[in-house]
């Protein structure tokens, strides 16, 4: 059976349910790279330019991890993602990711291109090209597209409704066999969303009092490929939970809220940055959180500008405490923990 590999980085955290459903409906075996680990990161770093951003280095590592295991590798080229604001574009690195991979890495399997340009065509059509390269019949492909687009919609909705608890890890079915709505570990949440009960599947080592009450709401704002990758972000959400905070993320905010907020900030060409600015604006001005943490990568081009825009153009009357965490491949776990502890102490004091 044909095996298609999907690197567990970058757009994986946004489109994996779409890709997995589509390929499995077409009868194709889907293989993901291993979860990020020091080996993968080192491989990626050794094959990339020094000053490119960490997520891209991580992506290269994941791609190379799949080199000998599959027949095809799915590589994305996201020009304009789907959404109500079908204008603007993503980061240049995402737009040219495929080019970088083709011309600088020694990729043994054949490359499948997922090119998404919502200005020109729909999500389903983007899948059609993949079907063609794999020789899937048109009828089967159309059926698979329908299932995949539905699955993708469900995933985005569930992401918001369950306020995805990031201690659970990555948003894929293959992480464990339970459907998405039942995966959220709930022992750590005071008010469980309806219909969910159960115990936390993973025991974390207790740092502070394991019975620590959750008395703070902290919002973490950042790109999904940083928020969801526990290795890259040093398990920031897990650390925050153990320090007694309920974590919300920018990835789980409804699109309507973000669109409403972004009306105040004009002329942002990067779509993912609009999401960040909208989320930041909401968290900073809504009064629903006790603290906001911005998680960004050193060398992220758009984020360097966006951070300044957020810090200077968003001016609500009462701002909760804000911290910016800049991470790169040299960041140490202890450093992150120290900063988080200090921040939580500050947020507790109000």
């Amino acid at each position: 059976m044909t095996r298609v590999g999907i690197p567990r980085a970058l757009s994986y955290y946004r489109y994996f349910p779409l890709w997995e459903s589509f390929l499995e409906e077409c009868g194709i075996d889907v293989v993901c790279s291993n979860p990020t680990n020091p080996n993968i990161l080192d491989m990626g770093i050794s094959q990339s330019v020094d000053d490119i951003c960490l997520p891209v280095k991580c992506y290269f590592g994941h791609l190379l991890d799949l080199n000998d295991k599959v027949d095809f590798i799915l590589v994305e080229r996201i020009l304009t993602p789907e959404g109500n604001l079908d204008t603007g574009f993503t980061c240049p690195k995402l737009m040219a990711l495929l080019d970088m991979v083709k011309h600088s890495l020694d990729v043994k399997p054949r490359i499948l291109e997922f090119c998404l340009d919502s200005k020109k065509h729909s999500l389903a059509k983007a899948l059609g090209k993949i079907a063609k390269s794999l020789g899937i019949s048109k009828r089967r492909a159309l059926q698979a597209m329908r299932v995949a687009v539905e699955r993708q919609k469900t995933y985005r909705l569930e992401l918001r409704q369950t306020n995805w608890n990031l201690a659970a890890g990555c948003p894929s079915r293959e992480y464990d066999q339970k459907p998405l709505t039942q995966k959220t570990p709930v022992a750590s949440q005071k008010n469980n969303p309806p219909g969910i009960k159960g115990e936390h599947p993973v025991k974390f080592p207790a740092r502070r009092n394991p019975e620590q009450k959750k008395d703070l709401d902290i919002a973490v704002v950042g790109h999904e490929y940083l928020l969801f990758d526990k290795f890259l972000n040093h398990d920031i959400c897990g650390k925050l939970e153990r320090l007694g905070a309920r974590v919300q993320t920018s990835a789980a905010l409804p699109e309507e809220i973000i669109e409403r907020e972004i009306q105040q900030y004009k002329d942002i060409s990067w779509v993912y940055e609009r999401d960040l600015i909208g989320a930041a604006s909401y968290f900073l001005s809504s009064g629903t959180v006790d603290g906001v943490i911005f998680l960004i990568c050193f060398a992220c081009g758009p984020d360097s500008i966006t951070m300044e825009i957020i810090n200077r153009e968003i001016n609500p009357k009462k701002r909760p405490p804000v911290m910016t965490l800049v991470i790169d491949e040299h960041t140490g776990d202890a450093g992150i923990l120290t900063r988080l502890e200090a921040f939580i102490d500050m947020a507790r004091r109000g």
Binding site: S48, V49, D50, D51, I52, C53, R77, L79, G88, F89, C91, P92, K93, M95, A96, L98, D99, M100, H103, S104, D267, I268, S269, W270, F298, A299, C300, G301, P302, S304, I305, M307, E308, I309, R312, E313, V326
Partner: protein, 353 residues
């Protein structure tokens, strides 16, 4: 940016504005800019911000900037820099070309331009074009002369004198005369041509390629070491390519884009087409090598940098990639370049025939 101040100040002073030209960017400019700028924004942003601060200290009351919503960060410079400066306490008016409509820019000079605004604009644009072309021709000539100069630095001195005369010209006739004088000064430089110079193309992000303060005067340094430098970018091209009035520039851009397409399929907002297209052009012209300059974290250039090794292999041309930021030192920079030149010279000696 380089000698862009000459045509730009001609444009603005023809419209009656008093133009304040900040001093050449120095370490101090970079420090000032870095102080206020976000930590890992690109170097051009920091230098530009530093320049603006110095201009404000010198009495400027309006800061002008091109802006837009593009893939590269450059479009955000105006908005963000003006915000940063206002937060720091400076007061000034913003002229953001792109965000403000052309009408706003056009009317901005109503008070200063004299009775007939359209005529003033027409005259101003004419002298702007003339001076820009003159600057380009003089710089190009100096690059052809410098490798052969007998007295080290004589070409650069002649060029600086010529630019000064050109900058002082107030109207079309004076500009024509100034260009003639400047050109003669350059042609009068003593040369000897007893050797075959290396040919090196200079590509990369536009600001670091053109601004001598950022690239440690690499064009002069290479010229003084007997190298014919061929920058892929120039102020003239940059100022006029979007206006499409020069068919040579349009053709050059189109060719560069066509050559880059197999490597980078979509426009990502920077000069990546000139970087990759320029490298391929250098290979086709059988130049000895290419020097690729870019600021730290520049997105389009990082992408080009990742892809350049494939171009090097396919077209068989050596490329030296140098990354610049505010901590770069001239000594380290020149050491790498000199090593590269040594390698190219040896390669040449080994070539049969």
């Amino acid at each position: 940016m380089g000698n862009a101040y000459i045509p730009l100040s001609a444009l603005l002073s023809s419209l009656g504005a008093e133009v304040i030209i900040p001093p050449l960017p120095t370490r101090r400019t970079v420090e000032l800019g870095s102080l206020y700028a976000p930590e890992f924004v690109c170097l051009p942003f920091k230098v530009n911000l530093g320049d603006n601060i110095r201009a404000l200290y010198m009495g400027a009351d309006t800061l002008a900037m091109v802006c837009g919503a593009w893939a590269c960060r450059f479009g955000y410079y105006g908005r963000l820099q003006h915000r940063i400066l206002r937060d720091a306490g400076f007061e000034f008016e913003s002229l953001l070309l792109g965000r403000d409509s052309l009408a706003t820019v056009y009317n901005r000079f109503r008070e200063t331009a004299g009775k007939n605004l359209p005529l003033s604009w027409a005259k101003a644009l004419r002298i702007f074009h003339m001076k820009a072309k003159a600057v380009d021709k003089l710089e190009s000539l100096s690059r052809r002369i410098r490798p052969f100069e007998v007295k080290r630095g004589s070409t650069s001195r002649a060029l600086a004198d010529g630019m000064r005369i050109l900058h002082q010209a107030r109207d079309i006739n004076q500009t024509r005369e100034a260009f003639r004088k400047a050109r003669n000064k350059l042609l009068a430089v003593e040369t000897q041509d007893s050797f075959e110079p290396l040919n090196i193309s200079l590509v990369g992000e536009i600001y670091v390629v053109i601004e001598p303060a950022l690239n440690f005067s690499v064009v002069e340094q290479l010229g003084e070491r007997g190298v014919l430098v061929h920058p892929a970018l120039s102020i003239y091209k940059w100022l006029f390519r979007s206006l499409r009035i020069d068919p040579l520039i349009t053709a050059d851009e189109k060719l560069a884009i066509r050559r880059t397409r197999p490597y980078i399929k979509h426009d990502i907002g920077g000069e990546e087409h000139q970087t990759i297209g320029g490298t391929i052009k250098a290979a086709k012209k059988r130049y000895d090598g290419v020097i690729h300059l870019y600021p730290l974290t520049c997105m389009p250039e990082n992408i080009s940098r990742t892809i350049i090794p494939a171009v090097e292999r396919k077209y068989d041309i050596p490329v030296l990639n140098l990354c610049l930021d505010e901590h770069s030192s001239p000594a380290g920079f020149m050491t790498r370049i000199e090593a590269f030149l040594d390698l190219l010279t040896r390669k040449r000696l080994k070539k049969p025939g």
